[in-house]
């Protein structure tokens, strides 16, 4: 049995892809397929999984796929450190990304770029149907195209079929180059063909557009001060969860959280405290309560409450230092962007998670960033990240 595990975000079309693949593989008489999503209350933007199983006989095992022949990531921010655990021996990861992953078991395809060029919007799923049809002998290209004809509205047929062809071409070329798979002795560091195009267009765009976002990227690594003392709020305390206790009651403790929502987002809000006027519109309008007021005396350069608002900056004449007025709980922020939209002072911008995480890593090494809160060596942990330790182990 061939098993395919799809990772996507709610609304990205992972289940549609899983279904189309199953439909394609079962068009031939005597072949069987099963496609289903993971069912949960999670909503748009939340990480979700879908599964396709392909076999020559009826499939009785209807449980979720734990280890797959092909694991597809429709969003590369979902590709975590444990990706190899979901792979069968000889299996392959396919990821929608412009990055090169330096591992022969990972095939990176810029499906967003390819689909945006053809469809006008990045809808990556059919690119991976094409890629799988090139890789897996169980799935024929003509059946994928037939499935598209049967399951998609007519006006989408031609473009999606051309995407399937483009994906097959790319995979066959990369396969000949030995860029992935067991035949590949060592992954080269160069971006692959699909990624190269989009990197070019990205750098072209960067030259023409004023990168005001850079100011926020530099700030993205700054740790956040804690929430106000004594604030009532549901908290992460999964370590305390005792099934036997809950098995005997229908009455549960309020505000008991076991999982963070941070995995939902691929962009995060970053607050520029120099531009922030403290109007608190972002705090008021956050649907998730992840923006909070911080102590006006809190000096985030030393990680403590100083009570002073005049500080030496760069050893030069004392400048009035504006207190940080709001902070973001990145453990629960879903990246909706409402805060940035309601900010009238351009003090909040949405920074891509990838850039933010890179900035977080550089913030660990003490380098002064002018006019930013990203000065490192800050000796406090966000309250939420302390509580979250157990959740990471989940």
């Amino acid at each position: 049995m061939i098993e395919v595990l799809w990772h996507g975000r709610g609304g990205q079309g992972a289940f549609t892809a899983a279904r189309l693949l199953g439909a394609a593989a079962s068009l031939i008489d005597g072949r069987h397929a099963l496609a289903f999503p993971s069912f949960g209350p999670e909503r748009r933007g939340a990480p979700m999984r879908a599964f396709t199983k392909l076999a020559d006989e009826p499939i009785g095992d209807r449980s979720a796929v734990a280890r797959a022949d092909y694991v597809v990531y429709l969003d590369d921010t979902l590709l975590g450190d444990e990706w190899a655990d979901e792979l069968k021996p000889g299996g392959l990861v396919l990821v929608n990304s412009v990055l090169a992953f330096h591992d022969p078991r990972i095939l990176s395809i810029d499906a967003d770029g390819m689909s945006a060029a053809v469809l006008g919007r990045p809808i990556p799923n059919t690119v991976f149907l094409g890629a799988i049809s090139a890789l897996c002998e169980h799935v024929r290209a003509e059946d994928v195209k037939e499935a598209i004809r049967q399951y998609m509205p007519p006006k989408l047929h031609a473009k999606n079929i051309s995407l399937v062809d483009a994906a097959r071409e790319l995979v066959e070329r990369l396969s000949c180059d030995g860029a992935f798979g067991s035949a590949c002795s060592e992954a080269d560091g160069a971006p692959h063909a699909g990624a190269a195009d989009s990197e070019r267009s990205e750098s072209a765009a960067a030259e023409s557009v004023d990168r005001t976002i850079d100011r926020f990227v530099a700030l993205a690594g700054a740790p956040q001060p804690p929430r106000p003392d004594g604030c009532a709020i549901p908290t992460l305390r999964c370590d305390e969860l005792q099934p036997e206790k809950y098995a005997r009651s229908t009455c549960y403790e309020a505000g008991f959280l076991v999982a963070k929502n941070a995995g939902w987002r691929n962009v995060r809000p970053v607050v520029d405290r120099v531009a922030c006027t403290g109007c608190l519109e972002c705090y008021m309008h956050c649907p998730d309560g992840t923006i909070y007021k911080v102590d006006a005396d809190f000096d985030d350069a030393v990680g403590a409450s100083t009570g002073a608002d005049a500080t030496e900056v760069d050893g030069a004449k004392p400048k009035r230092r504006r207190p940080a007025l709001v902070a973001v709980d990145y453990d629960f922020c879903k990246g909706c962007g409402v805060c940035a939209k309601v900010c009238r002072f351009e003090a909040i911008a949405m920074v891509s998670e990838r850039e933010a995480l890179a900035s977080e890593r550089t913030a660990d090494a003490p380098t002064a960033v002018e006019g930013s809160a990203a000065t490192a060596g800050i000796a406090f942990a966000s309250n939420a990240s302390e509580q979250a330790k157990g959740a990471d182990a989940r």
């Binding site: 549901p234 969860l241 549960y252 008991f256 999982a259 008021m284 956050c286 998730d288």
Partner: protein
């Protein structure tokens, strides 16, 4: 003390939930609970907010909260209130509050709500109106506006979206002679918060109807949720008003009052055209919607002022 951005409690009673990014309903629940405080007891029927708030073991309410049968929000509120009082366990600052969606209020829960108002039970009922059954994947409710596309009012060669008008639930509730009722929108959050605070301090049944956009169901970017909630008020398709019953107003039959009475409206067309769900509306349809708005406002401005 007036609750505003500076004075509102730091507490977050609805946090860590699984609502979509940019969810208007979760903002309404969060803001209301921040005003009502730690002793508020919440009841929620089937609907988005209960589906995203109670995922055992992820329990996202920091105050006492429970799920009710779909039709029974107001009855459960009654029971909680009476039960707490009978046991001598109701603190002075305890508000028993219900959060139900538009379907759970205007369709399925309307008789229970009507009964609670009839008995004048001491409860606060908040309807977060996202204009369809969003929890189950966008089906029409009686608060879905004319022309909106839902899965049960599709758009195509032979179908033109929702053919009925949005039920006027605020005035239906007011017609009971309820002590206090109000309309609000999360786009005018200070107004909503002021009304929750006002309702908190009134005895008897109180009802607040708050517009809470659903980016997924309305077909607009999630970061524009607040803009949608503002636009619907600015273009006049929703109104911010209060109804004070006889006791509060001192007038027989009570008194309606517009909290916001704009001199001129934003464009109805721009509001409708910005949302995917109204894509199929023709120019004639939009003219009809606009005429209905003008007729409604003419009455409101004549009767609800002063």
């Amino acid at each position: 003390m007036a609750v505003n951005a500076r004075t509102i409690a730091d507490d977050e009673f609805f946090f860590g939930h699984k609502a979509c990014a940019g969810c208007g309903g979760s903002l309404a629940v969060r803001a209301a609970l921040k005003v009502l405080g730690p002793n508020a007891v919440a009841a929620l029927p089937a609907g988005c907010m209960s589906a995203v708030g109670f995922n055992f073991p992820q329990l996202s309410f920091a105050n006492n909260a429970m799920i009710t049968p779909f039709a029974a929000t107001a009855s459960v509120l009654t029971g909680i209130e009476v039960g707490l009082r009978a046991q001598g366990k109701k603190p002075d600052d305890c508000t028993v509050v219900g959060f139900a969606g538009d379907g759970g209020t205007a369709d399925i829960g309307i008789q229970a709500l009507s009964g609670a108002i009839d008995r004048n039970d001491d409860v606060l009922y908040i309807c977060y109106d996202n204009e369809a059954y969003m929890n189950t994947g966008i089906q029409k409710s009686s608060l879905t506006p004319f022309g909106a596309k839902t899965t049960t009012t599709p758009v195509g060669a032979n179908a033109r979206g929702c053919l009925t008008q949005k039920k006027n639930l605020f005035e239906i509730v007011a017609a009971h002679g309820i002590p206090y009722a109000a309309t609000a929108s999360v786009g005018y959050l200070n107004d909503f918060i002021r009304k929750v605070e006002r309702a908190r301090d009134i005895e008897g049944t109180r009802y607040i109807h708050v517009i809470a956009p659903c980016p997924t169901g309305w077909g607009r970017a999630e970061d524009e949720m607040v803009d949608m909630a503002k636009d619907i008020v600015d273009c006049g398709l929703w109104y911010l008003a209060e109804y004070e019953g006889e006791q509060l107003s001192g007038q027989p039959g009570g008194r309606f009052h517009l909290s916001r009475n704009p001199k001129e409206f934003g464009s109805v067309e721009a509001y409708l055209r910005s949302q995917g769900r109204f894509k199929a509306l023709t120019d004639e349809d939009i003219a009809v919607v606009e005429a209905a708005r003008d007729a409604k406002w003419e009455v409101m401005q004549r009767e609800w002022q002063g």
